[in-house]
């Protein structure tokens, strides 16, 4: 068999074989809710920092605009990462075990939008708890015990 493979591999270097994809979706099932968690933590952190800015300090307006821009960007990343889990990782058969899967993701992505629009620490903490629920659901669906943690 080694010889046969080498024969085809050698031939392949001259005329490459067409590819038959067995993934169709990038890196083969590598999903982790921590991507969404890190972005949401950044949103929470920037929201707190915006509230702490002394607006009478020199350069405060520049700092304020930077913080708002980062918060908006990270909220957008949070939504994207949640959508990847929702659309790509979770499959219709997961709905049997998690009948509120769609509601959970819908609420979490809407919450990320709310955090983007407002400067509201409470809303960000609510987003974190929703992502914690998704973390638990995700790892349970993979039959693994991964404790929830945060970077900050």
């Amino acid at each position: 068999m080694t010889f046969s493979y080498r024969l085809l591999a050698a031939f392949d270097r001259v005329v490459s074989a067409p590819v038959a994809d067995a993934h169709c979706d990038g890196p083969c099932g590598v999903y982790d809710p921590s991507s969404a968690r890190i972005a949401a933590e950044a949103v929470l952190s920037m929201t707190k920092k915006i509230g702490d800015i002394d607006m009478s300090a020199p350069g405060a307006h520049n700092t304020y605009i930077r913080f708002v821009a980062i918060k908006e960007e990270q909220a957008e990343i949070t939504k994207r990462e949640l959508n990847i889990l929702w659309h790509d990782y979770f499959k219709p058969n997961h709905l049997e075990a998690y009948p509120d899967l769609h509601t959970t993701f819908w609420n979490a992505t809407k919450q990320a939008s709310a955090c983007k629009t407002a400067v509201d620490v409470g809303a960000c903490e609510e987003l974190m708890s929703q992502i914690e629920a998704i973390h638990n659901m995700f790892w349970e669906s993979k039959g693994r015990e991964v404790p929830w943690y945060t970077a900050s």
Partner: protein
């Protein structure tokens, strides 16, 4: 010995252009087909029969201009074929895009040649 004979027959058929050669990428057909495996495919116009449930097939993706290697899980009364991944965690298949038309099946895998470890 039987394996060697199969290899000779299949590679001979390929040399006579009776098989198409594909290189499989991705992990969705593991453990049956590891990434970087070569497969020889018997084109449908050379098949003496229709696709059966259980066949490994190469098919055109219904939504993208790529070809995919999947397992024919079932064949509907209308001839449509449900394609599934042997490793369901790592692939998109009929669970996402529904059954595919039988005309999109390029052929049935007749020979799997894994990369030597």
């Amino acid at each position: 010995m039987k394996n060697l004979l199969t290899a000779v027959v299949e590679l001979g058929a390929w040399a006579l252009r009776r098989r198409r050669r594909f290189r499989v990428t991705g992990a969705s057909m593991e453990p049956t087909i590891a990434p970087e495996t070569f497969v020889l495919v018997k084109p449908m116009d050379r098949m003496q029969r229709a696709v059966h449930a259980g066949d490994l097939v190469v098919a055109a993706h219904p939504l993208k201009s790529i070809e995919i290697c999947k397992r024919a899980a079932s064949v509907g009364a209308d001839g449509s074929v449900e394609l599934l991944s042997d490793n369901p965690d790592a692939g998109q298949d009929s669970r996402h895009f529904g059954p595919v038309a039988s005309s999109s099946i390029r052929g049935v895998v007749s020979f799997v040649l894994a990369r030597p470890s």
